[in-house]
Amino acid sequence: MHEFSVANSLLRLIEENVRQNHGKSVIKVVVKVGVLSGIEPHLLKVAFDHLKERSVADKSELIIEVQQVLIRCRECGYTGEVEDYQFVCKECGSHQLDILDGKDMVLKSIQMEA
């Protein structure tokens, strides 16, 4: 389980942003977790709630938005979500797909006391 490492990186990023914005305590953190990121939302929440104790985010709430894998077909232009990790175009059967979203974990926003 690597969610503790990930939560640790997240907290460091939060602290950096709070400092830059001269914020005080953090109220809410919104992250986007791509299905292909290999990060399990429930475990991330457990790890975050454990590690936040000794940080500026100790009273914050973590909101996790799960992002499905979004592809665009290079052959026919179809854009849509991938189901069950089957990387094939639903319209034309092509394997020439670009992944538009769903790979990374992104810190979207932080609500903090100014």
């Binding site: 389980m1 690597h2 490492s5 990930v6 990186s9 997240l10 990023l13 942003n17 914005n21 914020g23 109220i27 809410k28 992250v31 986007k32 292909l36 990121s37 290999g38 990060i39 992002q67 979004l70 990790y85 089957q86 990387f87 094939v88 394997h95 992944i99 538009l100 979203d101 990374d104 974990m105 992104v106 810190l107 979207k108 926003s109 932080i110 609500q111 903090m112 006391e113 100014a114």
Partner: protein
Amino acid sequence: MCRECGCSLPQKKHHHGEKNSSISGRKTVEVEVLAKVLDANDKQANSNREHFQEHGILALNLMSSPGAGKTTLLERTIETLKGSIRIGVIEGDLETDRDSQRIRAKDVPAYQITTGQACHLDAFMVHKGIHQLPLEELDIVFIENVGNLVCPASYDVGAHTNVVLLSIPEGEDKPLKYPIMFHSADIVLITKVDLLPYIDFDIEDAKRNIKKVNPKVDIIPLSAKTGEGMDRWIRYLTLKRELVE
């Protein structure tokens, strides 16, 4: 990356930035960040790749479940390439330096990373390993990741090629159960094929399952024990190494 939602679609028109409000009299501010949480790791990984590139080194990241045959494959590969391609190894394990000892017994430089609690290697650990190897004297560096089909897939370590091993005793359904790992592969090695007569493992079914989650991946079935399929693996490595220069 789109500034609105952090996806890789072109930026849409919208307004963003700070929103001010107040909750029960306290002043609060919402700051948009849109940064990849593992960005520091990704940057280090890119820098690792540049290190390898500067020395004309091909770097491969070996990933599999525990015991799928990563170290045995390395031992065989080192023996076969002795005298033609110079190899170095970075070994990742939770505990012990047994694997790096096995590699050093073949007269090849090996650096052991013991990760303790961490179930994967990250780019920073590998960077330390890089500087413990005599890069000027090497053509290929193998990074043997911690045996684990889940966590290592989340971390770019700075290799050129991700190699995922699937051994016959694990069963042909593993690519469907661990799709993220198999999706991250550039090449899948189906290992221990000498065991096919003893185990109900449908190799065509396994290939179909791998291609479902990763249609463009290369697949080589092989046995480090009997040497079957090893010639294709060696040709693959030799060509990949030539292409780095």
